[in-house]
């Protein structure tokens, strides 16, 4: 039984990391209705830039704000060059544009920083917490716990940002109704720029954590793919949904791998969450938190 909980907790904690990536999607989707497939590439780009700057001899304390600046700048450029010309295009078109963006960013990142796999040291060990192991016999990774903590703090900050600040409230208005927001004088493009900037920052945090855990490499971009089922479960525009969805995906895929995997030859982590999301969709097409809608004609 304690093994079950160990797997479950491990899964939940890594689920928080999925949530972190999903959060970047949700932010942008909420504000501009764009499903930003390039979020994963941004995560990769952030991690690579940070490591690259460290390699160039920059101290961590300088590299971090520098990377943040780069990410925000990148996000602003994307908003300006890619999204603005595509306003009012069908969502699918925007989605495909962000697929193009993904390729572009991945190419750019590797062109600038090289493609070799690099480690990222945050001073956190991926080792069991002794105290927990002694008292309950379960192995809970220190790294996972801290990462989950960071994610939790970030989510809380964002939630506060959305509910308490003027920009946050304007953003919610934009998410509800673009036309109406424009009509009451909310500067849409400014809002989009801010949101893309924030998404860039979220990508940085996710990139650092994922990079430290799996190494900074091309495979990081696949983390973004994992965020998709998370979004399906939680809904594209719900921050709590991203969190809950992440937890469900993290926990269920670890449990499935451990308990189901051996029967089918293993390796089911790659698709389990997709099939889970798919089955879920068939039962509830509107997502966990979404309302059932009937198209108006």
């Amino acid at each position: 039984m304690s093994f079950f909980f160990e797997v479950l907790i491990g899964g939940l904690l890594s689920g928080v990391m999925y949530s972190l990536v999903a959060l970047g999607f949700v932010l942008i989707y909420k504000a501009s209705g764009v499903f930003n497939f390039a979020q994963g590439a941004m995560v990769f780009f952030a991690a690579l830039t940070y490591v690259g700057l460290l390699e160039k001899g920059l101290p961590a304390l300088l590299a971090l704000p520098a990377t943040l600046a780069v990410m925000v700048a990148l996000a602003l450029i994307i908003e300006r060059i890619v999204l603005r010309p595509l306003v009012n295009q069908p969502q699918i078109t925007l989605f495909m544009a962000t697929i193009g963006l993904t390729f572009f960013i991945e190419g750019l990142a590797q062109m600038v920083w090289g493609a070799n796999v690099r480690g990222l040291e945050l001073g956190l060990q991926d080792e069991p917490i002794q105290w927990v192991t002694e008292t309950s016999g379960m192995n809970v990774s220190k790294f996972d716990l801290v990462a989950a903590g960071v994610a939790a703090i970030l989510v809380t900050l964002l939630a506060l940002f959305f509910s308490r600040t003027r920009i946050g409230r304007a953003l919610r208005a934009v998410a509800d109704d673009h036309q109406a927001a424009l009509a009451v004088g909310i500067p849409l493009q400014q809002i989009w720029a801010i949101v893309w900037g924030v998404a860039g920052a979220v990508a940085l945090v996710a990139g650092l954590l994922w990079g430290a855990r799996n190494g900074v490499q091309y495979a990081l971009t696949f983390v973004a793919l994992k965020a998709l089922p998370v979004l399906i479960l939680g809904g594209f525009d719900s921050i709590p949904g991203a969190i809950v969805g992440g937890l469900i995906v993290g926990a269920s895929e670890k449990l499935a791998e451990v308990y189901l995997g051996p029967f089918v030859g293993g390796g089911i982590e790659g698709w389990f969450s997709y099939v889970l999301a798919l089955l879920f969709l068939l039962v509830r097409p509107e997502g966990l938190f979404g309302e059932k809608r009937i198209d108006r004609v």
């Binding site: 193009g100 390729f103 572009f104 190419g107 062109m111 998709l228 698709w271 798919l278 969709l281």
Partner: protein, 358 residues
Amino acid sequence: MLYREAGQFKVSYAADQQIFSIRQDRFAVLALVAIAFLVVPVVGNQYWLSAILIPFLIFSLAALGLNILTGYAGQLSLGTAAFMAVGAFASYNFMLRIPGMPVLLAFIGGGTVAALVGILFGLPSLRIRGFYLVVATLAAQFFILWFLTKVGWITNYSSSGVITAQQIVILGYAFTTPTAKYLLVLSIVTVMALAAKNMARGNVGRSWMAVRDMDVAAEVIGIRLMRAKLLAFAVSSFYCGVAGALFAYAYLGTVEPEAFNLDLSFRILFMVIIGGVGTVLGSFLGAAFVTLLPVLLSVTVRYLDSNLDLHIAESTISNLELMVFGGLIIFFLIVEPHGLARLWQIAKEKLRLWPFPH
């Protein structure tokens, strides 16, 4: 004479409904097909035939398949490569397990199995749309590849999941040379492209486009959404399946499931976007572009490299390729969402008026 339609009056609806209703177009296409069949095999060298033209034709077919689903029926898919894989591995098993199986029949069988799998993964499209459907097709992409790797029977228990395609023999003739393979692929692709064009201009095509453009209205005029969507998944997957089979049999020879990864799916999606969403011609233009661009890029970079002494690494070229593709996708979506096919059409319209601009 020049490119003019003056004097060509349609005297019947049949004439008006022809695939190429302008005479010059008809000639041009016939000429192109004739060149492809008669001239290219004679003048084309081994490298061009087997490394450029054969994959170009196969990718055109796959892009056509995706275009039927995404361009005509409006259902975005990121699982194209997986359906190709199904076609390839199913054909392999038909050949392997049924003695005396004609290879063309095996390709059709492979396409049919792919169509069935396509229908299965298309089922969610009845309840979900847009991005949600993208997830369904991604599930297909990951699940199918995993399945092909894990079930040893499919790859005849080969150690690393690699299969070696049997030789193509039709009526006792073995298609071993690049020229022979090229002609075979060209024939299959020509026939299937014609069939796609026919479907597109007929009632099925209109039903697909109706579902794509406004599904409620489509339903109200009597189109069955379920049938139209599943048919699109089936036909599309059939095309992809046959393309996958040709990929294994006429291009690679030996192939593993990993060859049909997500990257290939993206590549084919790019062909559709760059070539032109919802056009048959666009599938070919897009495939040509995506096949040729890397060649062109590496030639150019190497040329610059040797002349300017830049010491450009091999990896730089592949990264450059990523950037160019990404940039082009964005460029086309912004500037010409209808792709190369539309540019071609505009050029023709200009030509029709030339040299008098009005």
